[in-house]
Symmetry: D2
Subunit: 355 residues, 4 copies
């Protein structure tokens, strides 16, 4: 059967890469072992045939079937030898800018978890300061990329050679707003506010002053106000003007999970039923979105799941809504969505291996 494909993951030393390895080895369609690679050659001692993954992520021992995975140094020779069909890149965006074209040349389909290929507009890409920005090769590669949110781009993902897996914050905001914007219910000129809060895993595995327990615990801080990199994704995917959307991320004193509180005003008064119907219509074929109606989701409900949870409340006059959107930043916000994209690309059930 053509179903048995060969996947591989580059960048397994980080949190998202580790979750990806965990999901892939348990995936019912991927019976073969999943080769996993460090993002940087020098990190790996090859002598033992690769470092057992459990030495880097002690929580990924045999309990998840990941006990036998061994982290290897990345090389294109190895990728060629393995005859990889789909390559996941959980690597820094600079790395992905270089490596993705290399993979595409080899005909390998890529699901890239970095911000390297998500943005269509040069103005939004500017925050990344890519070395190759504006080069013909980069622009061509960008034009091939599909924004990897199946709920919005299922058809293009099916055929895509390069899937740019969305940012975690962006996923939580876009899924909450897109149905209402698509139905033209929101008065965007009135301004949309997206107040997002994320657990510390979103800040990455590097030990910094910000991720030190003494700073993060018992604290809350806003950051990247008016400047966060995910803003471009919001504007492009939602089709909203820059001055009409304000996005503020915050660092929560918890390991994982994102809750976005989103404020909109409607052109006309809405009812709970009309808004719920709007969401249900948009997501009736989307198994990874759970609609809570006027019950509000909490961060705990989606943590360690691959779901995105959405609920809302309306003001008495039906003119304003507060929408609450929750997900696990490492799963629906990263690795879970990447596997969901794989499922779409392969024509498998969209939720396979994600429940």
């Amino acid at each position: 059967m053509s179903q048995t494909i060969q996947t591989a993951v580059v960048g397994v030393t980080g949190y998202a890469g580790a979750e990806l390895a965990r999901l892939l080895v348990r995936h019912p369609r991927l019976r073969a072992k999943v080769p996993v690679f460090a993002g940087r050659v020098e990190a790996v001692d090859q002598e033992r045939g690769g470092i057992p993954l459990g030495e880097i992520h002690p929580e990924l021992t045999d309990s998840h079937g990941t006990g036998s995975l061994r982290l290897q140094s990345f090389s294109w020779e190895l990728i060629d030898d393995l005859d990889v069909d789909v390559l996941f890149m959980a690597t820094p965006h600079e790395w992905s800018r270089q490596a993705v074209p290399e993979a595409r040349k080899r005909g390998i389909r890529v699901i890239d978890l970095s911000g390297a290929w998500r943005l269509e507009q040069a103005e939004h890409r500017a925050v990344y300061k890519f070395d190759d920005e504006g080069s013909t090769a980069a622009l061509e590669m960008q034009s091939e990329a599909v924004y990897g949110m199946p709920e919005l781009h299922r058809e293009e993902i099916r055929e895509a050679g390069l899937v740019a897996n969305p940012g975690c914050y962006a996923t939580s905001v876009i899924l909450a707003l897109k149905p209402l914007l698509a139905a033209e219910l929101i008065d965007t000129g009135h301004g949309i506010v997206c107040d997002s809060k994320s657990g510390v895993s979103g800040a990455g595995k590097a030990a910094t002053a910000k991720t030190h327990f003494m700073h993060a615990a018992n604290n809350l801080s806003a950051y990247g106000v008016f400047t966060h990199r995910h803003t471009g994704e919001l504007l492009e995917q939602l089709g909203v003007a820059s001055e009409d959307l304000t996005f503020t991320p915050h660092l929560l004193p918890i390991p994982r999970g994102i809750l976005s509180t989103i404020y909109v005003r409607f052109h006309e008064a809405q009812s709970n039923a009309s808004i719920e119907a709007c969401y249900r219509r948009f997501y009736h074929e989307s198994p990874m979105v759970r609609l809570f109606g006027s019950t509000l989701p909490e961060i705990q409900f989606s943590v360690r799941t691959c779901y995105s949870d959405i609920g809302f409340h309306l003001s008495n006059d039906g003119r304003r809504a507060v929408i609450v959107s929750c997900l696990d930043n490492l799963l629906k916000g990263a690795a879970g969505q990447a596997v969901q994209n794989l499922n779409v690309m392969q024509g498998w059930g969209e939720a396979e291996g994600l429940e």
Copy 2:
């Protein structure tokens, strides 16, 4: 000297009452011991001359000079015997509705920490469902009450017989917005969004499903959307129409602290300098407000202090601002502000005993 006054606190079993006792016994102007009372007669075993406060709040042992305080059953006879000048009430609002008029009859000045007397408009009071709502006596008492935020009502507080100490969320939002609204910089018609997050002590000392460690830890949840009781305070003190302000509180997995992220749009483009000047002008005589300018305060900075911290960022075009306002919900949000009010009422330095 007339400076030595007699104070007493009712409702010391709760968090705010305990902080109040702690602040008062260390206050340089209050050399005498501060009598402390339970809010409910039945809670107290009188046989030992009152329960040592450390048995109810183990953290309030001798380390804070509170070691010798003993919780007594409340009675007006005792209050009369003590010749109390200023009575603090850290009691449920129903209790304050009954007890405040009683105290005022005796000529005692009252600083009430509940929501009983904060709201001028019947429509806003409706959420409290007061038994005596609309009675002549209650309306008269209400008209005597001064909203106890010295930064806004210093002069009235000086002479007040009844000070209604503000809500914790309300304090964090009002202090951030009032200077900009007073200067008529904000386009209120465009909508103001107040996204507030509070530690668990704000939910009170009662053991409930919501305050259970298993629910609160590693979680974040929004609640009281469009319906929270502090909304009326915001609207009245800020003079904004109900449809122009949206306030959403959230429960943070930390013991104490509030951070409010506030979103406004200006009539005209502003600069960092113009906004900072506006704040400095408004607060130049207010020692309990710390202005951070375009550095953003974090929740940790104000926790266990009596300060309110305010910072902001402007959008590139100067038309939008994100304001971050932090305070300790039990201090500047409750007990600290109550002592600040006492200082104003007595003509003492406003920050005495608060640093």
Copy 3:
């Protein structure tokens, strides 16, 4: 095939019962839905055909296949109608004392998660103050019970009618000590110290002063010193005299997980190799024990797994050892071990449904 058995769970409103439901619906041998029951009749509104489990445990939505489970009122009629083969009881011990004999009369095999039937000696049972203590019926039932730790009693469990699932603390201590005691390496006369620390879920779902976030967070406290109920299990299963073992539990500010630090002295000097060999010999057929050797396990490694992790360090002279034993109190310490017992009783792979 005789493999398809009917199970049911009573007491699903608590944490252990919920985990049990989650494990059972995913168990590869139990294709049929698992009926789940409240422990107390009055808790359930039957009108909707039972309360969706997700309303009581919001984290147990469809993500775990538990979305369709509905909590029903318990009755023996229903149990009879369902033709239950194996009944799990995650109920208070008083309830289990009454209900287990009733189930056994019906020929149903029972796995009881309470402390009702774990203790052989009346002196150890005394802490529970059972109503029927000393009655002939109770003594007979007790003599039928098998202590449900497969690593120690695999053969008896296979045939057991009543399996008394061990306490969470007891599991963490017994698994760490039994191999060394069985090999007669430990000088028990010198005293064994078991210093255990547990997450808050161990204190149960009831909202109390102890489980209030404000008390549990940022704190650590010892409790039940010399009196904790699990002490009897330790003494009976380890065959150690009461004066030779001291066990102290502590409440950790985390949701789940137990770490026990255990101190022993050996008759003769040991080496890392000799101790590791002792453990490996004892557990070579036990898939749910992971041996870490002289690397020490941390609480995070076993949380959300059904494993028990054991590591140790020796003093320079090889005469003393510090053993560190970790597990998830709700899984290997409760629900996971219960399913492991089911696997043994049915002759299935011991780790089925637990990885």
Copy 4:
């Protein structure tokens, strides 16, 4: 009056140094400002007359009177110019080994918070691998040092030129055991177990894999088993043989606080009264020790205080005790004890500035 002395602190960038600055500026005997220094010259940008302390420790703003402190580069010229009487060193032990002799040459009294001068026996010092170990100068300096625990060495501290401030773990264990050992109640041959748990501030301000929020939160781990540096202090100060005391530190998922659970066996049966009397006798002139009797202290009670809290439980036969000892690792475990030593050295009230 000779009371006004000049102090200075080196190493204020760390947690203990910052607490020290906070305590000293509020100390009633030290009206002059306290100069504070970085431990390493290169860390400081001198152009602004030193870095405002609040930029390094944002929690140390004006709320603590520390707002005007400015971190300066350390130099002996500055120390000479300031005419420093007592120098606090909150610096790494290597630094203290070099700098303390320099200070003593100048006739400056030193309170050193590092492990540089705490240990009398070369065998215990070996873990530090001092460069100058065994040199005559170092041995002479060591012989001058007094172990800075006023409860044990009050008289020597009074006259000391060099006070070696104890380790945080060591303080919590020694204070709990010394009275019982001095009274010869404990059967040391039976073994003493000290199971200690500390908050993350004990691991220092450096951002490492161990202090990363993702590792420390929701976790507990043992470390330094049989090898922790504080073991030597325990053995020397308690006069117990190495093979009779086992000490295991653990990393708690909280910012600050230590709880030590200590297990002893008595020569003869004891009563609650006899043990309590033993402690009261030993500590009747020690204001910084709070005796809880058979109530057990919790970590929260002493956090943010300069007290050490001690409670205990006896086994039924009175032959064994479990002692629980709590303190704040940065206060009684470091900066608070340093100020207590200053008080003793100056002949001031031992608790001045510590309540």
